[in-house]
Amino acid sequence: MTSRRKPLLRLRAPIPRRLHVGAGIAFPLILLVAWWWVTASGMVRPLFLPSPQAIVMEAWRQIETGILWRDATVSIYRIGAGWLAATVLAVPIGILMGNFRLVEGTLEPLISTVRYMPVVALIPLSILWAGIGDTQKILILFIGTFFQQVLMIMNNTKSVDMTLIRAGQTLGFSNAEILWRIVLPASMPAIWDTLRITMGWTWTYLVVAELVAAQDGLGRRIMDAQRYLATHTIIFGTIFIGLLGLVTDYLFKLGGRKMFGWSEGQR
């Protein structure tokens, strides 16, 4: 029997699933080996790049002393609260902006401007307004998330086919009913994707949020480590934040697949 070999580099052609997953695991492993090699061979000083073993030791130290657990819970709480506050406001406002030209015209210029303001620059103001407790961190995460989120959600609801709205009108539904029962569910897969992406952005703002006046948190640990040039702590903290982000992303995707099986775009 002759088996024809499938070329792997054909444009957009599917490849075996095992290969797809395998490549995604193999590449970081190769990087890891390269990393180990440059540090073990003494090519790079540990101050600039500590060895992978040093990172694992650091991880173990943080787990054993309970620091990691404390930092993680505090940070996850802040991220969850900031993101949730942004979402609770952004979904209804985004839907209104996407469907009433008046609301869009009123809010869009302002939101688009705020969106470009550097969040770091708002730290002094946020302390002035919200003190130095958790509220200030949550506020920073909120600002970093909300203004992006609301514009994306506006666009998500705009892409709902106009004839669905017209169908609702001919069936006798009111504006509020059409937004709540037609536009929202129709755009929910896209909104969910926006929520997933913006959750990633909230994670990236964590260090900024914990830059000033924080005693704990994953971001704080990294900033502290900078003072003592504890490179291994910095690298471990960064990787750990990345991993937590990856887990949230996966959970979102899983939830989306469960909830929006009806959508053409979902596989």
């Binding site: 069936l171 006798g172 129709a186 009806w262």
Partner: protein, 263 residues
Amino acid sequence: MTMKLSIRDLDMTFETEGGEPLNVIEGIDLDVAANEFVAIVGTSGCGKSTLLSIVGGLTEPTAGQVSIDGQPVTGPGRDRGFVFQNYSLFEWMTVERNIDFALEKSKISKSDRRDLVAYYIAKVGLSGFEKALPKQLSGGMRQRVAIARALVYKPSVLLMDEPFGALDAQTRGMMQELLLKVWDEHKATVLFVTHDVEEALFLADRVVVMASRPGRVKSDITVGFERPRSYEVVTEPEFGKLKREVLQDIREETMKMMAGAGS
């Protein structure tokens, strides 16, 4: 005799991007009797979809009036059902729920609702697909759901905007026959917009040809084939004669448009 649907001196002007007014419809007068099936044909851009949208109450005309049973139309209402070209189904609802959704504003009992939904699902030949999602259906099946949804609350006027335009030729023929069968049993006044002349002649009692830019009624042709019609009607000489007549009218308009575009 009062007409079921009457359109008087209808004008529709849009503002273009450049700020210039675009006359889409100008001075349309049209009367449709109760349970009459009227097809509207014309070149693309002749305002036939806009006309339908105005009758549906989804677009407000610049001037003139549409009335149904003598009552002026001021917005969408449940006396009219609408079928759109691109299915417009609620993708997150099953076939059954899509149709039932149309009954939410009807003041009838839950069990009556269930019965009506089941009845119309059977009527459009979708028994067995009650729990299917739209994405699992073919284009023709989706449009059958849309037709059932537009009929289930028993509107007296049915507005159809190129409902079979996106279907392949075989499916389209079957859908036309299905529509006639359903319509024969549950009479309604139908305004049916299409660019397919054969479809118009096969389905309708009257074919209204619209002139373009601005949209006006160019000709109003009575189609006298007896009902119920079978698809063989398209092979009759009279059918060919009417088809030639309608095509001639449309062609004149197309030529005018092209000459206008060239100047």
